[in-house]
Subunit: 280 residues, 2 copies
DNA sequence: CCTTGCCATAAGGATTCATTATGCCGGCCT
DNA sequence: AGGCCGGCATAATGAATCCTTATGGCAAGG
């Protein structure tokens, strides 16, 4: 039966056509001119047709050569693609728990981009109460949780500090005594540190509004009910309090990533962790 | 740089996956089991991933192997297609002149079928007067002319005899004296031989109708204006005169093919000539 | 426990491949 | 018109590859 079209021969053929010369193609491929000449003759014997017109000014493809060229390029392209991609696509499932502030950021979009690169993988982003998150983590339904360090359900693999800013609406008297504050109602680990900062500054405060969702907190701040300590990425610029003397400096919030112990060595979880680490 | 995915190795891989066994794949490919084993190891070293789970009951593809398999099959398929088709597609242009009787036959359809197999080729079928055909032939616009031998514009490369039959309508008195005949008005080389046949049979005749087109002649015959000598393939069965004693036996018409001298070695013209020769 | 079937490795011989050396040819420049 | 240059082809040779045979290990089944 007919022999194979060997990829090495096709590569030599494509190079000869491109360079218009066996000598130049040999140079380009790091071989000798007689070696290329022999390869091309071998290819012609396999195909059973002359593929190149040869002259003292070089080579040009025959009609059969022109017909073979697209095949050759396609085969070489598939070969390269197969080499580049085989065994490198991620598969499996990953549940990611994110603090709602983070869920409102660009992180989910970045995770969606990752998912698009690896169609065999599924990513799920959860944002719920600490108690529910801990339960999902313990049950293995989420493998990664990114939250303030005291709230994560396992030891942090790494931590990252992020700034908080006071958020307020136009017209709110930030020097009011006591200071009306808007808080997350869920146990929120940075709530304690924010209130401690107020107390260290001898600012008396009162709870003006509580909500268990970022949307609710933002709505209350927009309505002028009080001030809140939030991440700047989640705020419209006008909501950021510019009066740096009126309110105490806020401590950074320290985020940490908890990774479920049974995911060691899972390349998908590795990739997701890498994305989270880069983008927080 | 990464080495090529050699088609021989891919073929071994595909066979091993299909057979579920390196030993059986080796047998199928006409090689030895250690040889196949080494080829597969070589492929794995090129790809940089294990491609097969090996056990004492045979092999199965790993996930990387499953990812490579479609590439391998595609590459091998393209290779086979390239081998089968390179240098075998016809291109160019061919003008074919046909006697109208032949143009009304299945020949044009056969030529259309040929054109479909070779999209790079164009075929043009002409059917016009002998004078116009000769002019087109001399000018190189038609390369092949199939007509009665005396009418072709060059020496015939081959000839073929075809029978003629008397065509008549129901109710026409074929013993009438003189016999009304319907004729082609263009110089028609078999017109002379037909009239000669009538005269040798001592049958007097008169021209009842002349036309320069087959459609006109057929219409006149259908209308009962007279009889005509035509090829049976162009007639409805009821038009063929069954009264074999009433009219003289018609001589065969001898068709010949003229091929323009400058088309020697043209594979498209060769192919068209082959079709014409096979189907007349 | 033995047999069978399968894969892997080692060793060796045959084949292939790419090199170097060299020749031939056509085009260009002097 | 002759010489030079660039290009392709062939011959010879040595190195590398490849496929074989021989053989071993392992697991499953009888």
């Amino acid at each position: 039966m007919a022999r194979d079209l060997e990829t090495a021969l096709l590569r030599s053929f494509v190079a000869a056509v491109r360079e218009g010369s066996i000598s130049r193609a040999a140079t380009a491929l790091g071989q000798t001119q007689p070696g290329l000449s022999q390869q091309l003759r071998k290819l012609e014997s396999i195909v059973g047709r002359p593929l190149l017109h040869r002259s003292s000014s070089g080579v040009s493809p025959t009609r059969a050569g022109e017909e073979l060229l697209p095949y050759a390029e396609r085969i070489l392209s598939l070969s390269a693609q197969a080499l580049a991609e085989t065994g490198r696509a991620l598969t499996g499932h990953c549940g990611v728990g994110l603090l709602e502030d983070l869920a409102a950021s660009h992180l989910p979009q970045a995770l969606a981009d990752l998912a698009r690169l690896h169609p065999g993988a599924t990513l799920e982003v959860l944002s719920c109460s600490n108690a529910a998150m801990r339960e999902a983590y313990d049950a293995g339904r989420v493998q990664l949780v990114l939250d303030a360090v005291p709230d994560i359900p396992g030891p942090p693999r790494w931590t990252v500090r992020a700034p908080l800013v006071w958020a307020t609406a136009q017209g709110v008297d930030v020097a009011a005594d006591p200071l009306p504050v808007v808080l997350f109602s869920n146990p929120c680990s940075w709530r304690t540190s924010v209130l401690d900062a107020l107390e260290r500054a001898d600012r008396r405060w009162q709870v003006a509004f509580e909500s268990n969702s970022l949307v609710g907190v933002l709505a209350a701040v927009r309505a002028g009910l009080g001030v809140a300590a939030l991440m700047p990425a989640n705020l419209e610029p006008v909501m950021i309090c510019r009066d740096t003397a009126a309110l105490p400096v806020l401590p950074d919030v320290e985020f940490g990533l908890a990774r479920h112990p049974r995911t060691e060595g899972d390349p998908l979880i590795d990739a997701v962790e890498t994305v989270l680490r880069r983008l927080v």
